[in-house]
Structure formats: C-alpha cells, structure tokens
C-alpha cells in the first residue's frame, strides 16, 4: 500500500502547503507521516516519497539517516537515544551507555525482550553541558533527560512500564 493510498487526505494537505517548484520541502512532513504507524520509515515509503516529490530515493534516505528522530528500522516502544560524541563522552556518556546496556541486558542498538526499550547511541544532541543525557519520544512528545545516572534512568523506565500497564 502506497503512502498516498494509506493517507490520501494528509498527503494532499501536506503537498498543498508548498509551492509547486519547492515541493521537495514536503519531504519532512511526509516522512513523519510515513513513520506514524510503525515508528519507522519503510524503504518502500522512501521510494514513494521520492517519486511524489521528484527527488531520488537516495535523497530521501539520507534525510532519514541524518535526523535522529527518523528511523529506518523497527524498535521498542521507548527509543532511548544516548549521545556519545566527544564532549558527551568526556562527561562519561559512553560509560553511561555501556552500563545502561548492561543493566538492561542488550547490545547498543538492541531491544529488550519485552519489546519496550531500545537503547541506541546517536550523534550530537546539542546538549553537551548536560551529559550524560538521552532523548526519547513519548506520547507527550520529545523528552530530554539530562545529567543522567543509571539509577535515575532505570527508575524512569520502571515508571514508564507502570504507566503502560
């Protein structure tokens, strides 16, 4: 099922927002749309969007790759993204990531068996001074959890689990 078949109304609305010669600008909202259902953008949808906007699939894919909030693979419901770039690492972010993975029993990039949490390292989240930190998307929107410790993080995950059940 193509994107336009799935969301005819939304796609039309998004495309209408941009002038015809600038229609490639619609790529960002369309990607969000594509990601809505499964939490990641399927390869098929990238192709669709490219065809709709007259840009190559590679162009669409590189946007998905660039932004940490577009995903190209399915993951757990909570995608905990930890920045491990140099300045964060100097404040202990890579140790934090390693410890978090160990306590959850997953590899970096892996998902817990219950399918709730995915931990993945990402590139710069623009908050070096508050490292170690992670970003996560919840129903309430994008959350930054700054100056984190393992205990605080696990506590937060527990609270989410309770909220979920």
């Amino acid at each position: 099922m193509t994107l336009i078949e799935k969301y005819p109304q939304e796609v039309k609305q998004i495309l209408a927002r941009y002038p015809q010669d600038q229609k490639r600008s619609a790529v960002m909202p369309l990607l969000y749309l594509a990601q809505r259902e499964n939490g990641f953008v399927h390869r098929r949808d990238m192709k669709d969007i490219g065809a709709m906007l007259d840009i190559t699939e590679t162009d669409v894919a590189s946007l998905v790759g660039f932004y940490s909030l577009y995903h190209d693979e399915p993951a757990g419901r909570l995608r905990i993204q930890v920045c491990t770039d140099l300045s964060c690492a100097l404040r202990g972010a890579d140790d934090f990531l390693a410890a978090l993975c160990e306590s959850l029993g997953v590899e970096p990039g892996g998902t817990t068996p219950d399918g709730l949490v995915t931990v993945e390292p990402v590139m710069c989240l623009a908050a070096c001074d508050k490292a170690p930190l992670f970003q996560v998307q919840t129903g309430a929107g994008l959350e930054y959890h700054e100056r984190m410790t393992i205990e605080k993080t696990l506590e937060w995950i527990e609270s989410r689990k309770e909220a979920a059940s």
């Binding site: 190559t56 699939e57 669409v60 590189s62 790759g65 660039f66 590139m123 710069c124």
Partner: protein, 818 residues
C-alpha cells in the same frame, strides 16, 4: 572596485580576477595548498579543514580610505585564527602564508584528526600510490599519532554501491566530493550521506545501485581509497602501470583518455590495458569520462575472437595465408572488378579513410559510408569550427537538441550542455518523449514521431518564438540525433536544422553550427572526407562484383541479407563478426589501442591517439593494409600515419593546416591538474599529448534545400516501432565488457500503459516481436513517458531496426515443464 586583485602568497605576488578563491590563486603561482574536499570543478564545501592558512589583510585607514603605511609598506593584520583557503576570497593586498609555523601546525593537526579513523591498509588499497591522503600525510602529516590505536573506526569492508563501484567505509574521510559531484556536476544525486558524525556513510538507494552514467568519475576524485572501480579492483598498483594517451572510440564526443597498461601473468604475459582514465581536455571532456568509455573502452580489443591472420576462403573453409598473398589477391580482385565498392564505417581513423579514398580514386571505386544517420554533408558545411568550445556558451546563447536522448547517446555532451544551461544559455529540447535533459531545459517542444522535420521547419518561420530566440542569440548550436529516424529522415532533419541556423546567421563562426550525434567515433571524419551512405545497401550487395568492407558488420546488423549470388567480399576487421563469417578474404586489422591515428569528433575536432599495447597476431593498421594493396596496384600511398595526415591536409580543404604537430600542441588549461600532486584535480591525467585541433569553417555560400520526409507517423489503432539509441547496447564494443553485462540486460521494449492495456499486455510480459522479417524476444516495460501508439525499440539489442516500422507482437507462451 577593479576586477583584478593583486595578493601575495608565500612571498610570490599574483594578480587574479576578483572573486577567486585563495586556493586557486595559489595554484597559479604553483603553491599547492593541501586540500581534500575542495575540487576546482565542485567548489567549496569546507568540510575537511585541511587547507588552513594564515591570511593577512592590509589595515585600511578610515580617514583616507587607503591602507595604513609602515616604512612605506602597507601594515598587514593577520586574522586571529587560521582560515580555510578554499572558502576565502582573494582581496587586494592580501598576504597569505601557507608555510608559516602556525599554518603548518594547523594542517598537521587536521591531518592527524583525519587519520584517527583511517585504516592503515595502504598496502592492499587500490588507491595506494596515487592517493592524496597518502601524499599529504607524507608532506604535512605527523610522524606519530596521539590517538588511541585500538579505538579506530571499524566498518564492514567493500560494500558494493552497485556492480561498478565499491565503497570501503573505513577509508572514507567524509569529504563529500562524490556526493557533490553527483549532485552538482552529474545532476543525478543517486548517492548520499547517511547518518552523522563518525557513523556517516555513503549510500545508494537507486535501482540498480549507483545508477549514473558518470559514476566512475567519483573514484578519480575520491581523495582516499573509499571508492574504487570494480574492474580495476586489485588489478595492479598505480606505479606499475604504463600510460598511453588515447581517444575514446565509443561515441562521437571524442573524450581524451589515458590507457593504463601492464604486462600480466594472467593474460599469458601480454601487455594489456588495465583501465581507462580521463585525460584533461577542457574543450572536450574536462576531467570526466562516462562509464561506457571507462568500463567498455577497450575490452573488445582483447576478445578471444580477434582476427590474427589473413584468411582466404577456399572450398568454403578459411585458410590462413601470408599477408603477401592476401594483398595480392585483394589487389587483383579489386582491379578486375568493373566497379568495386568500398564500404567503410566511422570506426576507422582519418588516416585509414584517406588511404581508402585514394585507393578508391585510383580504381574508380564507389565509396560508401556505413551508417543509419545522414546529414554529415551539412555538419561539414555548417558544423562547429575552429575556436569552438561548448564551455564558452552561456548567457545570451542558445542550444537546441532534437531527436536525441543525449544522456544515452553522448553522455559528455549531455553534461556540457547541462552546464551551459546552468551558465544561462537557453536550452531547447525538442523530442517526442521525455528525456533526462528536459529537466534543465528552458523550452521543451514535444512532437509526434514522424513530425521531426516539420517541427523544425515550423520553428524557422519568422514569427515563431524559437526563430526569434535564434535570431537574437549571440551563438547557437543545434545537436540533432536519429531517434525514430533512418537515413533519409535524419538527412532531412539535418537540412531543416541547417536552414534554421543559416537563416538566423549562426554558422561559419566559432561556437555556432550543427552537430550530429553520431554513433561512431569518426563518422564526422568520414563525412568530411567525402564518404556518403546509400539508402539501400542490399541493392549494392546484389549487383556488385567486389565489396571491400572495412570496420563494418552489415550482415550481423541485419542491414544486408546475403543471397546465393553474393559479391566477392574482402573484409577488414578486428573481430569475427557475421560479415567476416561470409567473407572471401579476411584482413585482420589492428585495434585503436595498438596503433596511432586521429579521429574527428562530432565537434569537428581532430584528436590524436597513440599506441598503448603491442599488436595482436599479425594484424596491421588499416592505413597500412590499404597502402600495401595500393602498392600492388602501382599506387604509392603513405604508410606512416603522420605522413598520411600531411597528405590529407593537402587534399581535403577542411583539414587545411592540420598536422600531427598541430594536434599535439598543448596550452596550459585551467584548472591546473597534476598527477604529481593528485589532491587538487584527482587521479585524472594531465594532458601533455595534445588538445586536438578543430577543422576550418567550410567556404560555402549556398546550401541544399532541405527536402526529405521524417519517419513513419503512428496511425490510429496501429502500433509503430521506433528505434532509440541506448548507451549500453549489445554491440560487440559494449557487450565485450563483462562488467556492463548486467546494465545492458536483454532487449526491453517500452510502451504506454494505455497502449499495453488496449493490446492486453502487462508490464514485464515476454513478447515476440516481428519487424521487417526479423524476429526477437523482448521484455515489455510499461512506461507512461512513451507516447501512445509507439513501441520504443532500442537499436543494437538483437532486433535489427533502422527506422520506424510496423511491428507484429505476440506473447511468448510459457513452456509447460514437468
């Protein structure tokens, strides 16, 4: 403000146009500022930070507006931080220090950073030996790294980006040259960056992978060994290769190339071509070549079925004979025949063609050019003349492309026209279906197949918008092709184009004229020398006694059907084609890699190629074979290509003034690239062997009035098969390249979806197509850009098609197995 500024770089004073970058200005005085991401053809990105230099500017006294002086010299203030030479524009009185302690320290530290993640596998890297990173590390790098060795970035090695280009992600330094080349130069962004920071990768999501006809060029400009070509993978180390200048023989653009050769054990100790590299010629191909030239450039010359000995047919079997016997027989047969026919093709060099012409003259023979496309008499009269360069076209000029899918037929012309359009030249694309050039066009004119000539004739009416555009334009160039057209149609089209050019005054001066998009490298040269095609070759074969066929395969192409009574066929060829199979006398010729010669490109530029490898077997160059035959008929012809050219220049007015000395002249080109430093222009070869020379304007005052009709027109309810040209076809010159097999694929015909529905065929159906008595199986591709009523049939893909015709289609029944 003056438009030229004077600055000092490392103590050397240089005056350059305002708006130039410091890195380019430095190049003018042979100061090589280290760079990775900057490339003179790609512009600045400032991604690698390697070009850090110290920049000082004169302090301006606000009261007077003049520089403050100190001891009579302007006072210079150096900026607090180092600046990137690839983004800093030159300014008056600027002082640049590239070798100061601060600048050197900056460069060294950037290099140290780059190397933190670069694997040290230079010994197995194909770039090792011609690698900018290697060279700059030797020149500027630290002897020792302060980073942890065990924390290097590791990634999966050798990721194929397609079947032509391999990516080694560890080696990538993320300079983005390849991505920017595809985006800005090739205009096909089929590779891109994925993710960020250290995890950044180059990816391709196209189908097939890295789907661009210019993909090979990214490996030349890649400053590390991240991108390498599949055909040269571990082929040889760069320092072991010998280099010979050559000209690409695959199309009429005439790209300058360098053939890298090496003696090889796996080729039984023969010296073979290992790769084709572009050679700089800013008037022809700049620094680029297309993938057809790169990956199929020479393979056909190394086929196993190369003809190695003269052969004669006796009792229906081929017997090898001595050259002497072969020459003698050829001479006798040619002399005895009443009116022998010479059938030649544009694969031959100017020298071969001239000797053939001389021999034919002596014998009173008929000389025919083997081609499907006409109009060369006109491109000889109103073609581009000396001093033309597509790079000069820009604002105020107009380029019209008609009946040609240029990216498929002549990729480098496509590229140069696209660039001219970007510089402001008006681009008009006139084609019956959508082509890739249209994206860059100002006007797109769509006509129905069959209306080619009428469309251009209509444009030539004084009230027509396009006529007005032409009349106003400073310069105008028309490229015409043969899409959907046979010999007659394309001749007529050339005539109509000529009228448009002549009526608006765009001929016989530089950067104006008509260019034919020929299928062979030297078609233009053959026309210039006076070879002309004939509409019905079959008649010639039916009635002639002796036909001397050189470099053509009329039997294999289906242009001629041999009957019981056939002429005595003398065939001079490289490979055992179908025509050779029916020959009575076979003369093995040398390939262009094994001899010297010149080609005349579609832009009427005579360019010289050199011998790269030793000849195979007993083969001899064409001009020499002809001279030997002539010698046995008491005609003395030159046997040295240079001397043949001198004769040619004397006899053919258009070639006046051309000699090997002249075509080998080189002037300094911009950008200045150099294999000894590699980081500025890439691994492209510099041109030291000649830029070629364009033919003179023809002294013509009257032009034949264009007549002739276009191709067949589609009729209601009937399907019309029209020929189109493909870059990768099943011609022997392309099919011999193993790497391109997948891209060539099988015969695919295209049809409009409505048409397919009407006929009851679905996308991907296997069809049997009958056309003019020939049959072939094909895969149907349903494509909405094809006009209705039309079936696109690519040429040289197994189904002989010379002009539009009525096909008979049927579905191939699936065989029931089991």
């Amino acid at each position: 403000m003056t438009d030229r500024v004077t600055l000092t770089i490392d103590g050397k004073q240089v005056t350059v146009p305002a708006g130039m970058l410091v890195v380019d200005a430095a190049k003018k005085v042979a100061v090589h500022i280290p760079i990775f991401c900057y490339h003179p053809k790609l512009g600045s990105a400032a991604m690698c930070r390697q070009c850090l230099v110290e920049v000082g500017r004169p302090i301006i006294d606000h009261a007077t507006g003049h520089p403050e002086l100190e001891d009579g010299f302007p006072r210079i203030q150096f900026s607090a931080k180092l600046e990137t030479a690839c983004t800093t524009l030159v300014s008056e009185g600027m002082v640049v220090l590239t070798q100061s302690e601060r600048a050197r320290k900056g460069q060294k530290e950037v290099l140290e950073f780059l190397l933190t993640s670069h694997p040290l596998d230079c010994p197995i890297c194909d770039k090792g030996g011609e690698c900018p990173l290697q060279n700059l590390t030797m020149a500027h790098g630290p002897g020792k790294s302060r980073f942890l060795f065990d924390e290097k970035h590791h990634a999966e090695k050798q990721v194929p980006l397609g079947e032509l280009i391999f990516l080694d992600r560890e080696r990538c330094i993320q300079c983005g040259r390849c991505v920017r080349f595809q985006e800005n130069v090739a205009g096909e962004p089929v590779i891109g960056f994925y993710q960020r920071g250290r995890s950044m990768d180059i990816v391709s999501f196209s189908e097939p992978g890295f789907d661009s006809v210019f993909s090979g060029n990214t490996t030349d400009i890649c400053p590390v060994g991240a991108l390498t070509t599949a055909d040269f993978r571990f082929g040889a180390r760069p320092w072991e290769l010998m280099a010979a200048a050559s000209i690409c023989s695959q199309c009429a653009v005439g790209c300058n190339t360098t053939l890298n050769t090496r003696r090889e054990a796996r080729s039984d100790g023969q010296i073979v071509v290992k790769r084709v590299m572009p050679r700089q010629n800013e008037q022809v191909n700049e620094l680029w070549i297309c993938d057809k030239g790169r990956f199929a450039g020479y393979h056909y010359t190394e086929r196993d079925d190369r003809l190695l000995k003269p052969q004669v047919r006796r009792d229906d079997k081929f017997r090898s004979v001595s050259w002497d016997a072969a020459f003698l027989q050829a001479a006798e047969k040619l002399q005895d025949a009443e009116k022998p026919v010479f059938l030649v093709s544009g694969r031959l060099s100017n020298e071969d063609l001239f000797n053939l012409l001389q021999l034919a003259d002596g014998l009173g023979a008929e000389t025919l050019l083997y081609t499907n496309m006409g109009g060369g008499d006109l491109t000889g009269m109103v073609g581009l003349t000396s001093g033309s360069n597509l790079a000069d076209l820009g604002l105020g000029d107009v380029i019209l492309v008609v009946a040609s899918d240029l990216q498929e037929e002549a990729p480098l012309w496509w590229l140069r026209i696209k660039q001219a359009a970007e510089r402001g030249a008006m681009l008009i694309v006139v084609n019956p279906r959508e082509t890739k050039l249209e994206k860059h066009a100002d006007y797109v004119v769509r006509y129905a197949y069959g209306d080619e000539i009428k469309t251009i004739q209509d444009m030539n009416k004084a009230t027509h918008k396009i006529h007005k555009v032409f009349a106003k334009a400073a310069n105008a160039v028309i490229f015409y092709g043969s899409e959907g057209l046979g010999l007659e149609g394309s001749s007529g089209l050339a005539g109509a184009c000529t009228s448009l050019l002549v009526d608006t005054g765009h001929y016989a001066r530089p950067n104006n004229g008509l260019v034919g998009v020929w299928q062979r490298a030297n078609d233009q040269g053959a026309w210039e020398l006076g070879f002309r095609p004939v509409k019905d070759l079959q008649v010639i074969f039916d009635k002639s006694e002796v036909v001397y066929i050189v470099g053509a395969d009329p039997v294999g192409d289906g242009a001629v059907r041999l009957k019981k009574r056939k002429p005595f066929m003398i065939v001079q060829e490289l490979l055992s084609t179908d025509t050779v199979g029916h020959a009575d006398l076979v003369l093995p010729a040398r390939a262009f890699t094994e001899r010297e010669g010149t080609y005349t490109s579609g832009e009427r530029r005579v360019q010289r190629f050199y011998q790269a490898v030793p000849p195979r077997g007993e083969s001899r160059p064409d001009y020499e074979i002809v001279a030997e035959i002539a010698a046995r008929l008491d005609t003395a012809l030159e046997r040295e290509p240079g001397l043949v050219m001198d004769q040619l220049a004397e006899h053919i007015p258009a070639f006046g003034g051309i000699s090997y000395l002249k075509v080998s002249e080189v002037v300094e080109q911009w950008p200045v690239i150099n294999r000894s430093e590699l980081f500025y222009g890439g691994a492209v070869y510099e041109n030291t062997q000649g830029l070629g020379m364009q033919l003179r304007p023809a002294p013509v005052t009257s032009f034949p009035v264009s007549k002739g009709k276009g191709g067949l027109r589609p009729k209601e309810g009937l399907l019309l098969a029209v020929p189109v040209n493909k870059l990768y076809d099943q011609g022997l010159t392309v099919l011999s390249a193993p790497l391109l097999r997948e891209r060539i694929g099988e015969l695919k015909v295209c049809m409009n979806p409505d048409e397919a529905d009407r006929l009851g065929f679905e996308n991907g159906a296997r069809l049997r197509i009958g056309l003019n008595g020939n049959n072939a199986k094909a895969l149907l591709v349903v494509d909405p850009t094809v006009p209705s009523g039309i079936l696109l049939v690519p040429r040289s893909m197994g189904l002989p098609i010379f002009e539009a015709g009525m096909p008979v289609l049927s579905k191939v029944r699936k065989k029931v197995t089991g």
